[in-house]
Symmetry: C2
Subunit: 390 residues, 2 copies
């Protein structure tokens, strides 16, 4: 049969991370690869109660077609929550999405033409590259230092459709931008007319102090901001949101209608039932404490087991350590040996839009318990030491 693929389909590729996850699903492998939240932290009892309540009190509305914008009370909740975090937004600017991945897809659909330049951090979130790729973006990597993207070098992005930024405990780098850096970036972006798409899946997962207000705050209401319930409740619900300036909202909404009509109303109502009376205020401290203990376990294990020449910063929140190996090592090439030794990571190369640094890797500390983190990092240490000595 004469199926002909669209040109953009050439930019669709198997997800490196998902292919690796399949590899590492074999029993006995300690996977520090996937960014899976700790299942122990899922609010199962609250969910069960909320499901029962929604199906008892609003079964027909919850199971019927619903508006593409999203469930009104949930949009109100998001707007109020953002305000509490310093970002002014109206509920009418909130579009509920099927996970924040869909927010990235809609942004790409509405804003990227083939050959459009899109500015990203270096490294940047792989899922964003995957969302933007089929729209045939050309990427511009903004040079980053230890404090994040460099405002002085933002000119390389001038004329790009937007700068995609993940300021809180970035995936993969773990970097959290300081307040001064945020302001400098926003000021520079405004000066050169560079719009910003800010992604914030991890902001609530802080260990010592909350991160500074969103970069969007300094963008005069003109940034796009993405959030998610995946990391604070559970990813299997696929619930995220996009906050857009009024000038862009209608096009994103129409793209949403075309993409899946609306996000499951049942899920929206259940999550709203779970969170509406302040559940997150009790839930998040326990989640932060859990992740902080696991971060500490990984910090100590890295200190103990990684050979000299490896570098990493200790993240103050989020889910990931980003490790820079001695320049001679190629993390992609070493992965099969690591799996052989009983552990898995994600090679860092996948997180670069260009000029991939092969000697980097990402470790997640949230998925497995401290004792297994120790074992996994010890195995990684042996593989690296052996590679360095050969």
């Amino acid at each position: 049969m004469n199926w002909t693929l669209a040109a953009r389909a050439a930019r669709l590729e198997p997800s490196t991370i998902r292919e690796i996850l399949k590899l590492t699903e074999r029993p006995g492998v300690i996977s520090l690869a996937g960014g899976l939240p700790a299942a122990e932290g899922f609010p199962v009892a609250a969910m069960a109660e909320a499901c029962a309540r929604v199906l008892r009190e609003h079964p027909r509305e919850a199971l019927q077609y619903a508006s593409s914008e999203g469930f009104g009370p949930l949009r109100e909740w998001v707007a109020a929550d953002l305000e509490a975090h310093g970002l002014q937004a109206q509920a009418q600017q909130v579009l509920i999405t099927t996970g924040s991945q869909q927010g990235l897809d809609l942004v790409g659909k509405v804003l990227i033409d083939p050959g459009s330049r899109v500015a990203v951090e270096s490294p940047t979130y792989l899922g964003a590259l995957q969302a933007f790729n089929p729209y045939e973006a050309d990427y511009v990597s903004v040079p980053c230092d230890d404090e994040g993207p460099s405002p002085e070098q933002l000119e390389v992005a001038a004329g790009a459709r937007f700068l995609y930024l993940l300021p809180n405990f970035q995936n993969p780098s773990g970097c959290c931008l300081g307040a001064a850096r945020r302001q400098a970036l926003a000021a520079r972006a405004q000066a050169i007319g560079l719009p910003i798409v800010e992604d914030n899946p991890y902001g609530e997962l802080w260990f010592d102090a909350p991160p500074p207000p969103p970069v969007s705050v300094a963008m005069a209401g003109e940034a796009i901001y993405l959030g998610s319930f995946s990391k604070v409740l559970a990813p299997g619900l696929r619930l995220g949101y996009v906050v857009a300036p009024p000038s862009l909202f209608p096009k994103l909404l129409q793209a949403k209608q075309a993409a899946d009509l609306h996000t499951p109303g049942f899920n929206q109502r259940v999550v709203y039932e779970v969170i509406k009376d302040g559940f997150l205020q009790q839930h998040l401290p326990a989640l932060r404490a859990r992740y902080k203990a696991q971060r500490d376990a990984m910090r100590d294990a890295l200190q103990r087991h990684l050979p000299p020449g490896c570098r990493w910063a200790v993240p103050s929140g989020g889910m990931f350590f980003w490790v820079e190996l001695p320049a001679a090592l190629d993390a992609t090439a070493l992965l099969p040996r690591a799996v052989e030794a009983g552990m898995a990571y994600v090679p860092g190369a996948a997180f670069f839009a260009g000029n991939a640094r092969a000697s980097t890797l990402r470790l997640s500390f949230v998925t497995v318990a401290p004792a297994r983190i120790e074992q996994g990092v010890a195995a990684l240490g042996r593989v690296l030491a052996e590679a360095l000595s050969s």
Copy 2:
């Protein structure tokens, strides 16, 4: 701020149907417009039980990230169900989607370039046009007679990327293709190398006899086939699927990953719990009986109340009557008067990819009860009679 829209965004437009639905939400208006399944038919008790069971037995798996392909047992169920309907497919060919609308979006993303020709029925499903529009398709309308698209005139579609076909109780026409027409269309499509995308949301909603086997059966395993749980269970779950030939499956899967990572695993497991032991065999006969009674009520009401010169076929399943008015009437122009008179319909023009016939409209018989159908159609009859006499 310098936001620049992608060229494709110009093809995104407000959904006519959704805008109309908003208009008709005012109390007192009997809406025969929206294609909303009867909420009385939603399996609320079975859903509540399934939610509780899933969260009791598999809470962590249901709430965790899951595979982009979909929940394995649900994919197996779909493959077995298709086989029972005459279509051979492997579970590995089944991609679970966030409603079948997402299936249409993924098909568009992978198969349509700007300016690609896409062949559609005339009229065709509005949601498909909305999904394909942002990929900048050029449409070719295949001439249709009372039995559906004409195989003799399929040559007009030669060279199109695919023919989009909704053979069972089409939205909006209500037409169900006979077995001979299906075979003739498949044979002709194969002869001219025209791939087929077959959409089947309504096939289970038959009143007297099941429809003939899918057109895909005669396409030698090379068609794309879309299905949905929206009409047999509930649309608020957003659960559909695409069945694709092995040559296309990987690209659709990658497009799915990019679009929303995966369809909510919780929803997939809940639906699987509901249907796995034969629930639909008990549920569907009651749903068919309900919709048949409502179809009969609308058939009788149309007979009683519509003025001479209106034409319609009585659908043998599905959700819709398609009414052709005397040529002088414009259903779009008349809609405000109908709403004023207390009822709403969808003007037929939105369902044409070109050469819209303004003197057509669509009525749904599934959303409101028989007594209100009678009232709504009577109001329509008055509006039409008045328009004809003025």
